[in-house]
């Protein structure tokens, strides 16, 4: 129960961060990726802010002795840097560039009930299910 409450709050905070940052506007995402055109570098600040806070908070908590050792991580599905990692990331990047949505903003964007968002999310779900069916 406690874990679910924390997860709910984190999901909420995550969505607010996406909305404030501009990640929930595919046009802004595409403008960030448009390095050879009308480049808008804003979204580089999202990653800088997120990684900066995450790393700083971990250091602080470890320094205070509140986080001992290495936090348990979910087991990696594939060890090391392999073909699946590189091909999967490359394929995802093409989709991201085409519509300016990565999975988080697509899920959050569902609340608009706009047809393009519903189509993208439905196709994302199909893509994920196809992958897991093939893998058995």
């Amino acid at each position: 129960m406690r874990r679910s409450l924390i997860a709910f709050a984190c999901g909420l905070l995550f969505a607010l961060g996406l909305g404030l940052s501009g990640m929930t506007l595919p046009s802004k995402v595409v403008a960030f990726l448009d390095v050879f055109g009308d480049w808008d570098p804003s979204l580089a600040f999202v990653m800088a802010g997120a990684i900066g806070v995450h790393v700083a908070a971990m250091r602080l908590l470890r320094g205070m002795g509140l986080v001992r050792g290495v936090q348990p991580q979910p087991p990696a599905t594939t060890a090391g840097i392999d073909r699946s990692l590189v091909v999967g990331a490359a394929v995802f990047g093409v989709g991201w560039g085409l519509v300016g949505y990565c999975p988080g903003p697509a899920v959050v964007g569902l609340v608009t009930l706009e047809a393009p968002v519903l189509i993208v999310v439905a196709a994302i779900v199909v893509g994920m299910v196809v992958f897991h069916r093939r893998r058995g």
Binding site: R3, S4, I6, A7, A9, G11, L13, F14, A15, G17, G19, L20, S21, T24, L25, P26, K28, V30, F32, L33, D34, V35, F36, D40, S42, L43, A44, F45, V46, G49, G52, V53, M58, Q71, I81, L85, V87, G88, A89, V91, G93, V94, G95, W96, L98, G100, P103, G104, V107, V111, E114, I119, V121, A122, A123, V126, G127, M128, V130, F131
Partner: protein, 141 residues
């Protein structure tokens, strides 16, 4: 033309960073959206995953209520493009074991070499895709 918003984007990033580090410290879980959604679709339905997705939807409603201009599908895309892109995003994130949140934020933050490589790769192919759209079709908006 997209407006340059470094402060809002940085602040949004700070909220995302807080979300990912709180989830990691208090539950030991990774706030990777493709992982959370993919695992649920695979049949690994867990209450914390559903709660996280629920929190995202409620957060989306808050964003929508405070500014409808902040959350909208603001691009002109044909439906076949939307379908193909969605399939690539869904399949690619499962094959590569993560997306912008899982690899790009959580993975890089904990010093994962795999995540750094994945992030560089998807950034590169996304930028190349937008460049290709410019070359082939003219506009990207």
């Amino acid at each position: 033309m997209s407006e340059f918003t470094p402060m809002a984007s940085l602040l949004g990033g700070v909220l995302i960073g807080l979300s990912t580090v709180i989830l990691r410290v208090f539950t030991g879980k990774t706030a990777g959206i493709s992982g959370i959604v993919g695992a649920t679709l695979r049949g690994a339905v867990e209450r914390w995953r559903l709660a996280f997705i629920g929190g995202m939807v409620v957060g989306g409603l808050v964003v929508l209520a405070s500014s409808s201009a902040a959350i909208a599908f603001s691009l002109d895309r044909s439906w076949p493009t939307l379908v193909v892109a969605g399939l690539l995003i869904g399949y690619g994130t499962q094959l590569g074991g993560g997306c912008t949140s899982g690899h790009g934020v959580c993975g890089i933050s904990r010093g994962s070499g795999r995540s750094l490589v994945a992030t560089c790769v998807f950034m590169a192919t996304a930028m190349l895709t937008v460049a290709a759209m410019r070359l082939l079709g003219g506009g990207v908006a």
